[in-house]
């Protein structure tokens, strides 16, 4: 689905990304993690085509090839720069960190905006999309809010509307840019579950998520890419990436890493670095 080859990007002389290569396979849930300023969001911008890489290339849409010895690779994709803007929007959708602005459009109208890349210049679509929009609103529990305007919704509700819009876009590749940042833990799980559920129902939908929260990343992602100072320092399953040593090396703290009692995914328990509270209490 994605073949990123030695990506590099600088802004005003300072290097944000250098020599980042990785592949994402069709149907995967792929996480990108790393500390602040490690280049996660920049990498996502290169994948979505809103920014151009200074070095290297991103090819989208390649097929997964399995060699006789079992190793996988991706081939046959097209460079992201070669897609026309609307064509790209039918292929890639992006769910942003900030909820949608408080505008006067209704929930249904915003969801319908997701159909823009499929419409001709008159705003018509060869096969109508009304059914699609209805079922999306139903599934996300937005049907009762369909005629409310975004001005009257909470941040969490607006983020769900953003997801509805992205679903209406019917992409094959979904990019998430820290979509849970401004949500409470309940809304975080709800949003991630909705995305997971969508991926299960949609053959071949690939998700690439930039995530701040390592525990969420471990719970939802098949594989993780760990970035530090613009370089890839590890790609692998959550178990391989989220080890105490790596976290110490990249984030500079020593948390407790344990297996999730129910799922077995690695989970990180933070602890104060300057003396543990319990000990002080005696």
């Amino acid at each position: 689905m994605i073949a990123a080859d030695r990506l590099g990007k600088s802004y005003g002389g300072s290097r944000v990304l250098s020599d980042v290569s990785f592949t994402v396979y069709e149907g995967e849930f792929f996480g990108i993690i790393g500390p602040n300023g490690s280049g996660k969001s920049t990498l996502l911008k290169l994948l979505s085509g809103v920014e151009k890489a200074d070095e290297g290339s991103v090819a989208l849409g390649g097929k997964t090839v399995v060699a006789p010895d079992g190793t996988r690779s991706v081939s046959g994709g097209r460079p992201v720069a070669e897609y026309a803007r609307k064509e790209l929007a039918r292929f890639v959708a992006v769910l942003e960190q900030e909820a949608l602005p408080q505008i006067g459009f209704t929930v249904r109208e915003v969801a319908e905006m997701g159909r823009f890349p499929y419409q001709n210049w008159l705003g018509e679509e060869p096969e109508g999309a009304d059914g699609t929009i209805d079922s999306i609103l139903d599934r996300l529990g937005l049907a009762p809010l369909a005629d409310r305007t975004l001005e009257h919704l909470s941040g969490g509700e607006r983020q769900r509307v953003a997801l509805a819009k992205v679903m209406a876009q019917e992409p094959r590749l979904l990019l998430l840019d820290e979509p849970t940042t401004y949500l409470d833990i309940g809304r975080q799980i709800q949003l991630m579950d909705s995305i997971c559920d969508w991926q299960k129902r949609t053959e071949g939908l690939t998700v690439v998520a930039v995530l701040h929260d390592l525990n969420l990343a471990a719970l939802y992602c098949d594989r993780l890419l760990l970035l530090n100072r613009g370089e890839a320092v590890g790609i692998g399953t959550p178990e391989e990436i989220l080890t105490a040593e790596r976290i110490k090396a990249v984030y500079g703290i020593s948390p407790v890493v344990t297996a999730h009692p129910a799922t077995g995914a690695p989970q990180i328990l933070l602890q104060p670095e300057s003396g543990v509270k319990g000990e002080q209490r005696g």
């Binding site: 979505s48 809103v50 803007r85 942003e96 949608l100 602005p101 459009f105 890349p117």
Partner: protein, 344 residues
């Protein structure tokens, strides 16, 4: 959506028709609306067969030769300024934006003021000298603003607004200088800047019509794209909008309309900022509705303002820019208060 267009559009057109009738019958000579319609219908080809004139010839002269051309101009200018204002507000995502945000008006004013100060005009084209030069300097100011605001191949909206402010200040100083050098008692430049629809014949409307027509078509084509801009530029890009190209196209089209309007009638403020807001308060933010209704709403608003401008203190005229702001500002304030009350 279609229902909204039919209802809103129908109501707006009915209002426009009413305003035209009112404006045609009001003035130094008050004519009954029935006569006004008789005269209008009678002027259509082949109307002699079924309509016998029962009004005075002078009424016909007043309606067809004096009031109608002026009304046509008011409709065109009002529509152009309002559509341009809607476009600027949409693409800049700034509620304070109006057609003059990018300094077009002050650019045009520099050209016009220079001609008036020096008294230059060219024989046969005398009537057209000021409009043509004002249009040219208006476009020049747009080019300057776009040049100033382009950073690394991108137009950042904040930079664009600031560039407009800078240029307006600079051109404004030039105009003020020329006003101060002009020794005429009633300063022609000041009056030009306050705008006027008086004494403009059909030929000006004929020149403006293509600008409005082309501008409307382009802006209607971009209506859905402007809706996406409301989500933010990046969201629009993710949905398949070529953001930079769209911004430049809309800014250029709206500026062309504004420059054409300003070059003919001077600077009429407030219409382009307030009418799109009024329509937005009434119908919501959808540009597919906002653009056509702004066109009609702007026409109605400017026509009313011009009727007031020529009748309130007759026989003297009030500069129309004064009327548009004087009537518009309190009404707008009222609507804003009502809206915020209903929300809270």
């Amino acid at each position: 959506m279609r229902r909204k267009v039919v209802i809103g559009g129908g109501a707006a057109l009915a209002l426009l028709l009413l305003t035209v009738t009112f404006s045609l019958s009001t003035g130094s000579a008050n004519l009954p609306p029935a006569d006004v319609w008789g005269i209008l219908l009678h002027s259509l080809p082949g109307a002699d067969a079924w309509l016998t004139p029962h009004w005075e010839v002078s009424s016909e002269q007043i309606v067809l030769k004096i009031r109608l051309p002026r009304i046509a101009l008011a409709i065109l200018i009002g529509a152009m300024l309002s559509v341009a204002g809607a476009g600027f507000q949409g693409v800049l995502r700034n509620p304070l934006a109006d057609p003059y945000t990018l300094g077009v008006a002050s650019g045009s004013a520099v050209g016009a003021a220079f001609l008036m100060l020096t008294g230059l005009s060219y024989g046969l084209f005398a009537q057209w000298t000021v409009p043509v030069v004002a249009f040219a300097t208006g476009l020049l100011s747009l080019a300057l603003v776009l040049r100033l605001a382009r950073v690394q191949g991108r137009l950042r909206m904040e930079t664009l607004l600031l560039s407009g402010v800078v240029l307006q200040a600079f051109f404004g100083s030039l105009v003020s200088f020329m006003v101060s050098r002009s020794d005429k008692v009633i300063n022609e430049i000041v009056f030009w800047m306050l705008g006027s629809l008086a004494l403009r014949g059909w030929s000006y409307s004929a020149v403006l019509l293509p600008y409005l027509a082309a501008g409307l078509i382009v802006m209607m084509g971009y209506a859905r794209t402007l809706n996406l801009f409301a989500l933010g530029e990046r969201q629009a890009a993710h949905l398949g909008v070529r953001v930079e190209r769209t911004k430049v196209a809309i800014l250029v089209v709206c500026t062309l309309m504004t420059a054409a309007a300003v070059s003919v009638v001077g600077i009429i403020g407030f219409v382009g900022m307030v009418v799109p807001h009024l329509i937005r308060l009434l119908t919501g933010p959808d540009y597919r509705l906002l653009i056509p209704l702004s066109a009609i709403g702007g026409a109605v608003y400017l026509l009313l303002a011009d009727t007031a401008a020529r009748t309130l203190l007759a026989p003297t005229e009030i500069p129309i820019g004064v009327v548009t702001a004087f009537l518009g500002a309190p009404f707008f304030a009222y609507l804003l208060r009502r809206k915020s009350r209903s929300r809270g």
